[in-house]
Symmetry: C2
Subunit: 574 residues, 2 copies
């Protein structure tokens, strides 16, 4: 392999060359705090929602790319380098990146100094933990300076990247020892702040980007690093950052560690202030105390490892095929968990600002993780179903922070309703938790419209049943599974999207794909009805749409309009 | 002066140090094609609308800042530098930037090579012209390579900077000799394209950013420049750019020039194609032919100079105070014209994506430029008035490309209606063009609702008259002139804007400022009515609101609720 290899024993992917074709990232976090982290320590952190609660800035489509992240500069005389190569791009004597299950380890070495930078989000706390371990492998004492650096985002990533005339005037921080608190808008209307901290006293800090990097400077070589001295700047507006300076001397063979953290804290309204204008830091201080030394750090990493052991231990195969085992036992399940956490709302191509979580996506994704986390799959089902409309259609997307449907994109994707049946059916078959069908769930996020989940499924089925085109096949609406197949929308004007433009819910265009779904998930729906004792309704559903098991009769006109080369698919569905 | 000085004879501001405290920019263009250009050749171009029709990318709040623009790399052996210092930041032997009236000239010199880069937008064509003049001032022949570079924006600047999963798949270009055509979405739904061209054959080109800059490369040192060879890449998706390579040899004392252009072309629907899939380039070719040599370039620059002579010649003072004359005769008027052109919709702090043009701003700005361009002030008035609602209120902002009110920000800024009277009154007093009052103008951009401009002013006046609070003072709505004074909006939730949140049009909060406006522009309204022979209505307006000239009676309760220290202001208004 040119860029890396799988280490199955450690369940890691090991990257041996920092110049991968594009940044290769890991997703850290499994509850509410998440970090996208590249193989060169680029990336960003957010709390629950990559758009609405972004902790650090990331510039998509930047040039140079992947310049923002969780970088540590090491100054060794005139030489400045990073353990992960970026952003100085100083050539390293050795480089390895290990993307593991919920953690990443970067190892870089230069001129007799070995640096190891570990990253993970601990279970039970909303923070990213980082530990730098430095070892002097040379024969002489080394005087080193270490500068960790992050750039804060002013919470709403879209606003942060567009509303400069406002945002350049709002940034606020507090500095208390080696803890830098980012508290923009906390005074006005927020109950949350971020904190970047270290577990030992700093020899300097900066919180104004301009002072640390330089007005015309670059993350590739911050002025403060070049000068070997932070300036002690305290940001008021402009671009608040957290940069710290640690001056170290290592004897030959000596090692030392530095634990760093980036945390997110919410305070109840009544507990916002320690004194007028001074943030109540009690929760942050308690968090910092939980990761103050290597023993605590290692214990938290062990707990994360145990969490993944348990998750992946629920389903393991030994096929005799190394590659099959690797994918089934480690990476597919890991990917499914990442998909559960993010639902595709943030990646290095999806900026996290544009979409939230998809109705269709989230229903489908359930099939991949329901066996690992059935209780969270249950919660997800109820969240998704609450964005359904009373007629069975649904918001195509919803925001993870608010769990509200996204009105910008709206509804009209006619495959969406049937995916809810697909997801619930998978959940029921895995868990046997039939009680979920009796849960009361909002329609359109409105408690006044709430009905049982069973009724939601009924509306899903009926939506398709009552939205058929001239050949008796389901109307496609804005799209079936393929968003690009919007047969009703012919956008002609610049800027129109294929998803949201034009008369997108026409009376004619039909979807063979939704027809297939209707056969498959209509049968699932009939099975659910039988199980809960609604034999008559189940039979009616089957008869009305010729779904009786074993029947070779398809929905009206189904076969005659299907392209000949799809008949095999149809048989498979039956 | 540390960074520069005024050159009054040439009507230029001369910058002598590239590291200004922040980029110092000029605004090029006076009709429909505009370029923001910094003193180091950073910036971007757009056609009419900085959001909807952006030609080149610019990354606001980037680090390093101001990295995108219209840079030319000069490779002289192993040395690579730019005439304007950025983005290589290679130290220059000499540097000057001259920001003039509609043009900018950068001069840089290094190792015996003098480079002069001129920029302007010619009258009558939608393009930015650039000319590089190189002179070998050394005693030996010089083999030089020259690489101009721009990065295309995929038209909608907001979408371009957020919707990557789509935009990375859509970029398209054509390359014909030294002309690079950017035609993304032209096939689907656009009737316009951009072209970057040179007036001599190129020795190489690139249109994929990744190939020119390098995957992990930086504009500070593009890989193709370092290697001394473009790669001939043709972009399909990802990031389309225009980079060209010119290999030159200059004898001692020899000079040469290279004319470059960035143009915007629209084709009628029936004339889009020269052949299937091949853009009809006739209009671009005609444009390029108009600036193919130095004589044509100089003539266009002279025409621009004559245009500014005429504009500024309409009003000149000789006060004996150099600084007063300088500001009145040159820079204030220049600034007013820039404000006419952009209406504050794009700067280095306003990204051009967020607001369009302001109703209030544009009405106010009229006062500054009406004497220079009365015929365009007339057009602006009619455009603005068409975004007024039938009740006299107005969209607070509108998009310059569509001239439609911006529904995102909406209405409710209660000073807006009176500003229309202010602008029209200034226009009438300057021009005597009373016929404008009879122009038929839409309400809410709806021709079915059109009325005379006089009727628009009447609705403006009546809006204030009928929106009074408990003290008889005008209701403030969302704001008076001070947008931050939104007395009805107490946003408590993260992300809420002071402009658009909450119950922002309450029944109680009043504005002394709008009261003052009502006195001043109510009198102007009465004067207009008298002039058009509506004596009774004028008298009624004056009586109803005690606006009769010379009267010391103010609108009901006005004085008693005014803070004492504002009484002087009140007298001034009278």
């Amino acid at each position: 392999m040119r860029f890396g290899y799988f280490d199955d024993a450690r369940r890691e992917y090991v990257i041996t060359e920092p110049r991968t074709p594009l940044p290769w990232i890991n997703y850290l976090g499994s509850d509410s705090f998440f970090t996208l982290l590249s193989n060169t320590a680029g990336g960003y952190s957010f709390y629950r929602d990559a758009r609405l609660r972004r902790l650090t800035r990331y510039r998509y489509n930047n040039c140079p790319l992947d310049s923002e992240g969780f970088h540590i500069y090491i100054k060794d005389g005139e030489s400045v380098w990073n353990p992960g190569w970026q952003p100085t791009q100083t050539a390293l004597d050795a480089y390895t990146c290990r993307h593991g299950l919920g953690y990443t380890v970067l190892e870089g070495a230069k001129d007799g100094v070995a640096a190891r930078q570990e990253f993970f989000v601990p279970k039970g706390d909303d923070c990213l933990l980082m530990r730098l371990t430095l070892r002097n492998e040379s024969a002489a004492a080394k005087a080193l300076q270490v500068f960790p650096y992050v750039e804060f985002c002013l919470w709403d990533a879209l606003d942060d990247s567009s509303n400069f005339q406002r945002n350049y005037s709002t940034g606020e921080v507090e500095v208390v020892g080696p803890a830098i608190y980012h508290k923009t808008e906390y005074r006005e209307r927020r109950d949350h702040y971020a904190v970047f901290w270290a577990n030992r006293p700093a020899d300097g800090f900066d919180t104004e980007r301009e002072r640390f990097i330089g007005v015309y400077g670059s993350p590739a070589m911050p002025e403060a690093v070049k000068n070997g001295a932070c300036t002690g700047s305290v940001a008021h507006g402009w671009q608040p950052v957290a940069a710290e300076q640690f001056d170290l001397v290592l004897a030959p063979g000596e090692s030392t560690s530095l634990i760093l953290g980036l945390g997110y804290i919410e305070n109840p309204a009544a507990e916002k202030w320690a004194a007028p204008g001074v943030v109540n830091k009690a929760r942050a201080e308690a968090m910092m105390a939980r990761y103050a030394d290597d023993r605590q750090f290692d214990a938290a990493l062990d707990a994360l490892s145990a969490f993944w052991d348990a998750l992946l231990g629920r389903y393991q195969v030994r096929s005799g095929d190394e590659k099959l085992d690797r994918m089934v036992n480690i990476w597919n399940q890991y990917q499914c968990m990442v998909t559960f956490n993010m639902s595709r709302s943030a990646s290095y191509f999806e900026s996290g600002m544009g979409r939230g979580m998809g109705f269709r996506d989230s229903c489908q994704d359930l099939l991949g993780f329901v066996h690992m986390i059935p209780e969270r799959a249950r919660e997800r089902i109820l969240d998704i179903a609450a964005t359904q409309f009373p007629d069975g259609s649904a918001y195509h997307q919803y925001q993870p922070l608010t769990k509200k449907g996204n009105a910008d994109i709206g509804s009209g994707f006619n495959d969406d309703p049937l995916w809810l049946i697909a997801g619930v059916d998978a959940y029921l078959r895995e868990t046997g938790d039939w009680g979920i069908l009796e849960e009361t769930v909002d329609f359109n996020n409105d408690p006044a419209l709430a009905q049982s989940l069973l009724e939601h499924l009924r509306r899903s089925f009926r939506f398709t049943e009552t939205h058929l085109g001239p050949h008796g096949l389901p109307l496609i609406g804005r799209a079936d599974w393929n968003d690009c197949l919007n047969l009703n929308c012919f956008s002609e004007h610049p800027g129109e999207s294929f998803q949201i433009s034009g008369p997108s819910e026409g009376p004619v265009a039909e979807s063979v794909f939704i027809g297939g779904m209707f056969v498959k998930y209509g049968r699932a729906w009939a099975g659910i009805l039988r199980h809960v004792g609604r034999e008559d309704e189940a039979a009616a559903a089957e008869i009305a749409h010729h779904l009786r098991p074993g029947s070779d009769v398809h929905p009206p006109h189904f076969r005659e309009h299907l392209p000949t080369d799809h008949h095999g698919l149809l048989e498979q569905l039956h």
